[in-house]
Subunit: 304 residues, 4 copies
């Protein structure tokens, strides 16, 4: 390998560069094709793992599935090797989050050759699904995704307070339910009662545990109506955050300024009368008619 | 048929025109009556099909239901024939979405005469329910419907990202649940576990599968609370979109001008360069700097 | 009775007036006390009816409950008689919505004396719960209640379109589920399948019917995620409507004008510079400092 | 104890002061450490109580759990004593809400020495979870928490009206379901039917009671769709309230001034009459007509 690198440096380097762009890039057509191919391979591989656990399918197609597993393992191993080979700092990749996932997803199959029973670990490959988040880059969804993330982050503290309250209430009422219903009615322990409380409060309602006493039923009704009502809280939080986010986004688009001087040059504040809040594409101040932009100015970073 | 068309062209043409307006139009009283009649016929026909599958009812009223089926089939066949006859481009109708549905909904009954067992296909007539979306045109709901569609379309990308994330999480946690609970507790395969995960995350909670192990119960509680909490995300998305949509609508409503002259007088359109969409309190055109309002003008009805 | 009315007209009339104010009014202390007493009587009477159906309770306290029933019946009969006696147009009351409810709630008990078995009808008294909506007048909730009603009315058309779509989808997918799962898996008829579909789509999830086939489970998962996602739609509709309602409310409070001249007098538009959009309680124009209200002016209908 | 206080007053006082700051304060490092320690102790103690009710665990680790209980009891007793000792008005603490909880959480364990069976009361210690709300002070969540509280308080009346309506509907339809389904189908009494109605309306759906008759199923479908639809109401209420709250917050944040002089310079508070809350672009005080801005003033940092 060292030899290879030494001799046709320029050629090999060029190849590495090219492969690098394909594997890590998303702007070229080849890069996109690679990502889509990877996406499909991951989905198929996950599908294979899932089918293997379905008894009927596994009995009939055991051999085919095993072959498929090996095919995917080899494919992913190749990809893994390429990523290391191509990367300038291979160790940084290997010990990165996705590097570890990639490694964990090929390891079990090789182990299964030596250690019987380790095949169970092949399900680790399902972790590769996380890579799908990566592939999002491909799509138009990226911006939306980050908007969602922002809204969730902004309302994180509020949601934490909400969950904190919900959990404390669940434990308190769960304990109460334990003493009200008792082990004879299926509420065998406080943890199980808390499980019931959460099942009820979140309106999941499995129905495996159901209150039998009048007080327990009354408490449960209160719980249900509470759960039904307070779902409004996280919803309201995120909704308000997204409305704000949209408003902020509009405002930002209007007045995003990195540099104060630039700010004035951009005409966001009328240099003549000091008014701001102009339309994004305004050329003249709406208040005094002053020409905001020098018509000869280059690309306006604020214009969209 | 050719003969018919050739001889009394004008009369037949007039008839066709009249029927065309009735069948395809919605503005005349006859057209509305036709649509409402069709609506009722479809609902009754669907009701008949549903009743036929109820054993008790079918045993007692088998003959009546069969007669009804034939009545509806003949009615719909007549309608189908009329639509073709009346249409200027019959093939365009036949191969349109609704044309195919109309055809599929009458075909099975005729087939059942020749082929025994094909009567099962009569349920295809239920597809006619889709026509009900068509009948929406009749109602005041049309505008609301398109507003809803707009809000959903605008938030499509965000909702896709949300569902994408939900599905990946479901598969990952479903796999985990499979290994935590195992086939002995009803989690017989990964697909079934994923089914359970989705049943729990969406707060449906059938209760046909319930975790038995402590870890499984803990995981499920996390799932429930997550599902209960992140419902806020799509809700917030659509809500924000509708608030935005309403704001847009209001703004438009405010600026929408029935009369162009009035419009110009209002200064909403710059009389110099023709741009509109000025700030409400703009005195000068943002585009050309033209003074929009005569400072001495009286009350500006658009200023708020 | 005629005699009574003829002789001491003035006294009786005065009594009638006084009772009228108590029964129909809500502004006097006696009127409020009457309404609260009625509220409690209705709740206790409903509670009695509910307890009667609980077997254990009924066996032990049968006699007590029967006595209570008669007490409530007599009370409500007295109230009914008083309402008729006091009203100027008794027939208008008798044939009004609440009049019929009041009548239906006392009738069955009297019938039960003559006709055995008619006691079952006593549950009709539960309809009296509807009177509770009336008692709302008492409370501060009234305004909030009408705001809610407005928001719901405003979004009625949108919610109808939503439910319409949900129902059509439910019938279509319910039919599909019937053919996919079949009677052997509990999907015994299309109506039952539609029941299952709605149970799933609304995230209720009883679990009495659960798909057994792979396709059925897949379809159900799609249903659940759909149901989980489109709950956002009505929520977004009402939420947007309430945000709008709040905005409208604010705007109205700011500028509610019955009369244009009054408008100017109110100082909502500065008579000096023509600016409006002042604070509600502004005494001076924010723009030119002109004194808006004549300090000696009487009650300002716009001030809140 | 009296002796102690009398002799080394200054020293003891100093100690008391120091401990007071640690126990009741949150600003010092020691105070924070104490609160976090308490938080952990409470959680562990609650966890112990929960484990004790799990039969398998209790059988194996009975002794260890009892020891742990005593450890926590002694710890909390010490804390309780310290709080009393350190407080200037010990009785005010003892009879405060948290004082009673602290007392109730240590009492049962001591009682259990004398009275057999009173150990059941140890679960009262779970009430200490309520203290966790106190510890919130520690965290950044405090402000968010109060924002949430404000939004909920503001929409309290609307939510009450909503729940009121939901409950009346539940009782009415529950009664109807009782007569439609009857005791043979599990609807043994009206209270149980109301329980079913609420289980359905809130989309919990245990599935322990399921309608068997066609009418009952139809009614249930209506209930489900209603419950699915009207969840939008509380959600819309709280959401609208939070959007309003955010708007108010933004406005305040914009006007909030750390420095009073700056405040006056900004003209946010009228220097003449002291009123604030002017329009953003106000030039004159709305209350006294005083000219707020010196027209020659430079860029106004609060103007946007």
């Amino acid at each position: 390998m060292l030899k290879k690198i030494k001799r046709p440096v320029s050629k090999l380097e060029a190849f590495r560069k090219r492969v690098y762009v394909i594997i890590y890039g998303i702007d070229t057509r080849a890069g996109k094709a690679f990502d889509i191919g990877l996406l499909i391979a991951i989905l198929l591989s996950v599908f294979t793992i899932m089918l293997e656990t379905v008894e009927g399918v596994n009995q009939v197609f055991h051999q085919e599935l095993t072959i498929l597993e090996w095919v995917f393992t080899i494919l992913f191993t190749l990809e893994f090797a390429l990523r290391i080979f191509v990367s300038d700092k291979p160790f940084k990749y290997i010990f990165s989050f996705y590097g570890l996932i990639d490694f964990l997803s090929i390891l079990p199959m090789f182990l299964s050759v030596f250690i019987i029973g380790s095949q169970v670990l092949t399900s680790l490959r399902i972790l590769r699904l996380l890579r799908l988040f990566r592939v999002l880059r491909l799509m138009e969804f990226m911006e939306e995704s980050s908007k969602l993330k922002l809204a969730l982050l902004a309302s994180r503290a509020k949601i934490m307070v909400f969950l904190y309250t919900v959990l404390i209430i669940s434990v308190l009422i769960g304990t109460l339910m334990y003493y009200v219903e008792g082990p004879d009615n299926g509420f065998t322990s406080i943890p199980r009662s808390v499980f019931y409380t959460i099942v009820t409060l979140t309106t999941v309602g499995y129905g495996d545990m159901v209150p039998s006493t009048a007080i327990g039923q009354f408490l449960s009704m209160v719980l249900m109506v509470t759960g039904y009502g307070i779902i409004a809280v996280p919803t309201g939080i995120v909704g308000a955050e997204m409305v704000k986010g949209a408003a902020r986004g509009r405002e930002k688009g209007r007045r995003q300024v990195q540099n104060n001087d630039l700010h004035l040059l951009n005409g966001l504040v009328c240099p003549h009368c000091g008014k701001d809040d102009h339309r994004e594409d305004a050329d003249y101040c709406y208040h005094c008619g002053y020409q905001l932009h020098d018509e000869n100015a280059g690309a306006d970073p604020d214009k969209k």
